[in-house]
């Protein structure tokens, strides 16, 4: 019973991260910050939903599959966001690239 409640709480928390990701993707000002919002939903949101479902899973294989699901998504999302960011950086016009370099130097 307590496990059920904990699972539901985790899943709801995951949905909250999806909300943050969706709102962030819409509201944040540029590509790089939107990518940042995307990874919150991908990694934490799906992770919490999967954890909540795995806790209340009927079988070990189902829990294992949820773990694999999360692992696959995390690695795909990390690669995808890196590729998008790197490509945007590479294709940015000269002035944009110079500005990006400044940001790199400051940070």
């Amino acid at each position: 019973m307590a496990v059920d409640v904990l699972g539901a709480v985790l899943a709801v928390a995951g949905a909250a991260f999806f909300t943050a990701g969706a709102v962030g993707v819409l509201r944040l000002p540029d590509l790089h910050s939107r990518l940042h919002a995307l990874t919150k939903a991908d990694n934490v949101g799906l992770g919490l939903v999967a954890a909540g479902l795995a806790l209340t899973a009927g079988s070990a294989s189902e829990a294992l599959k949820l773990g694999l699901l999360w692992l696959v998504t995390v690695s795909a999302s990390a690669t995808a966001t890196y590729l998008l960011a790197a490509t945007a950086h590479e294709r940015a016009p000269r002035s944009g690239r110079a500005r990006a370099a400044e940001v790199d130097g400051a940070g």
Binding site: A22, A41, V72, T87
Partner: protein
């Protein structure tokens, strides 16, 4: 759990609205690609939740297939599509 799961799945589909707006607005192709990627992840979570709510275990496999293929459009975009200057 199953009532919660179905409600959450429906809610996740509603969160697709702002994501779809970003996909339509862009302004760059990369923005659209990232919106579609987020829509895919949201779909994965929704499928896992609907699978639990309805007791159809196969939906978890559908989610797994989507997860495995999630990076493919991004790879194709970054290696094969040129942005219009």
């Amino acid at each position: 759990m199953s009532a919660v799961a179905l409600g959450l799945a429906g809610y996740l589909l509603v969160t697709l609205v702002p994501v779809a707006l970003r996909a339509l607005r862009g302004p760059t192709t990369a923005d659209r690609v990232l919106a579609v990627t987020l829509a895919g992840t949201t779909g994965i979570a929704a499928l896992a939740l609907i699978g639990r709510a309805t007791g159809v275990g196969a939906l978890l496999d559908v989610a797994l297939v989507l997860a495995v293929l999630a990076a493919v459009p991004v790879v194709v975009y970054t290696t094969r599509v040129v942005d219009r200057s």
